[in-house]
């Protein structure tokens, strides 16, 4: 089955749908016109560029180019995570990059090499979209993990100090905040898995069905991607927080003031 194309006039009709939320927000007194227009424009331009890139990437299908593309995605995700978590880039750039690269690449190659088994493990048609989906979810979880962990530590600094003074090592003293942050970061993924298919049809599965795949094939891919997202976010969050400890404290285990971005 060939999916039906969306022609430019229909695309214009689609953009017309944005007028409804804009009007409703205007009626309740929320002046978000500028934000909405900027967001829709950015989304459209970014996706159009991705469309061009992916077309070229799939056509060339060179391992180094695919790797470069994933590397760029990892760098952008790294900077975005730290910015959104309110942490200084220079302290955590390497630890966050290492953690999300480990989580994303481990799950992606596990899925591609051991489960999907295409002719070439580096096939852009599999590796690029799968790594992108996994990384997107890693990004959200790592923002929550870092933000919760460091704000929790800052908020409970006296309690953390008490643990240290009672003989805890730095690692022992951060445990309550570490566990709370990991739990909060994985919450959306675990909740998403438990309601998947009941509350909503997931995006990837819907896309595959619209693209002409058999529903059973789409279901199997969706299960595969969800398990990989769960594994990669858990791995990345745990490793990220653990690695970040090396740079966030002084030699006496006191949280450095300067690691938080107060802008």
């Amino acid at each position: 089955m060939t999916p039906l194309d969306i022609a430019p006039p229909q695309l214009a009709v689609l953009y017309g749908l944005c007028l409804l939320p804009w009007l409703l927000l205007h009626l309740i007194g929320l002046r978000l016109s500028r934000d909405i227009v900027v967001s829709i424009l950015r989304m459209s331009v970014q996706l159009a560029l991705v469309g061009f890139y992916l077309k070229a990437l799939f056509g060339l299908n060179e391992p180094w180019l695919n790797g470069l593309w994933i590397g760029v995605m990892l760098v952008v995700a790294d900077l975005s995570i730290l910015q959104r978590a309110g942490l200084k880039i220079r302290y955590f750039m390497l630890s966050t990059f290492a953690a999300i690269a480990l989580g994303t690449l481990f799950s992606t190659f596990y899925l591609v090499i051991l489960v999907i088994q295409p002719t070439h493990y580096y096939d852009a048609r599999y590796i690029v979209p799968l790594a992108g989906m996994i990384l997107g979810n890693c990004l959200q979880s790592n923002v929550i993990a870092l933000e919760r962990f460091y704000s929790g530590l800052r908020k409970n600094e006296q309690e953390y100090t008490t643990f240290l003074l009672l003989g805890a090592t730095r690692w022992e003293a951060v445990q309550p905040y570490y566990r709370a942050a990991i739990k909060a970061a994985l919450g959306p993924t675990i909740a998403g898995m438990s309601t998947m298919g009941l509350v909503s049809l997931p995006g990837m599965m819907t896309g595959q069905i619209l693209g002409g795949s058999e529903p059973w094939l789409a279901v199997k891919y969706q299960i595969a991607i969800m398990i990989c997202i769960f594994a990669s976010t858990t791995l990345a969050c745990i490793v990220n927080l653990k690695l970040s400890l090396r740079h966030a404290f002084n030699a006496f285990d006191v949280l450095k003031d300067e690691v938080m971005d107060t802008r």
Partner: protein
């Protein structure tokens, strides 16, 4: 062990804590300005001075919670640094004005340090816990009480009980008697009458000051004078 060659030998022999030209600067503001003093084994010293004179900073510096910008602090003539901080903390009990108990119930708060690797093998018995509570005029019924429901004075004594159960011999006390009634205060005085315990405290309480061997008067981060309490 690192020994400072410039320190007088008589001070070194019994020194538990020694400040040597210790200076603390925070965001360009001098909090402690080159202070030097020695605290011998079993000595009880009190830091006096106006609010903001740097008294609490002295206690925090010993615990490594405030970094030095110049000078040095020694614990048993071991210089305070990243390698020695854990040893210093393991031998020191800090009790602030409003201690954090860090657990849901008083029993859990008392046993909290024994969850950490450093003290895991020294977990006290129920009888030992009750004996320490009795020593501090605290009822054993308090053990099952929620930590959030105990008063400020009780919190201070629970934190002190925790130090005693850990067998600490150096106590850093910040206004330890501020929230205590006469009976509880006497119990705390009795605990520190033990010559084996060394104390560096901050207090405005004349009764506490009168019981200390040494009074260290601070003003705007400078140590004005060091005197035995008889002449204070």
């Amino acid at each position: 062990m690192m020994v400072n060659p410039n320190a007088p030998m008589t001070q070194i022999i019994n020194a538990i804590i020694r400040f040597d030209q210790a200076t603390v600067t925070v965001y360009g503001k001098t909090i402690l300005s080159g202070i030097s003093f020695t605290l011998g084994k079993g000595e009880k010293a009190v830091l006096c001075g106006k609010s903001g004179s740097g008294k609490s900073t002295v206690l925090k510096t010993v615990l490594g919670l405030q970094s030095l910008s110049a000078g040095a602090v020694y614990f048993h003539e071991q210089r305070l640094d990243a390698a020695t901080i854990q040893t210093i903390r393991n031998h020191t009990a800090y009790i602030g004005q409003e201690p954090v108990l860090g657990a849901d119930t008083v029993r859990e708060a008392l046993l909290l340090p024994f969850r950490f690797k450093a003290h895991r093998d020294a977990k006290p018995t129920d009888a030992q816990i009750k004996a320490v509570l009795a020593q501090l005029c605290l009822s054993a019924d308090l053990l099952s009480q929620e930590s959030s429901r105990v008063s400020g004075g009780e919190k201070q004594r629970i934190a002190l009980a925790r130090g005693l159960l850990l067998g600490k011999n150096l106590y850093l006390l910040d206004e330890i008697t501020s929230a205590l009634d006469a009976e509880s205060k006497q119990a705390v005085f009795d605990v520190f009458a033990n010559p084996g315990l060394t104390v560096l405290s901050v207090s405005h309480d004349p009764e506490w000051i009168a019981r200390c061997d040494k009074v260290l008067e601070l003003d705007e981060g400078c140590l004005l004078q060091e005197m035995p309490h008889d002449s204070a």
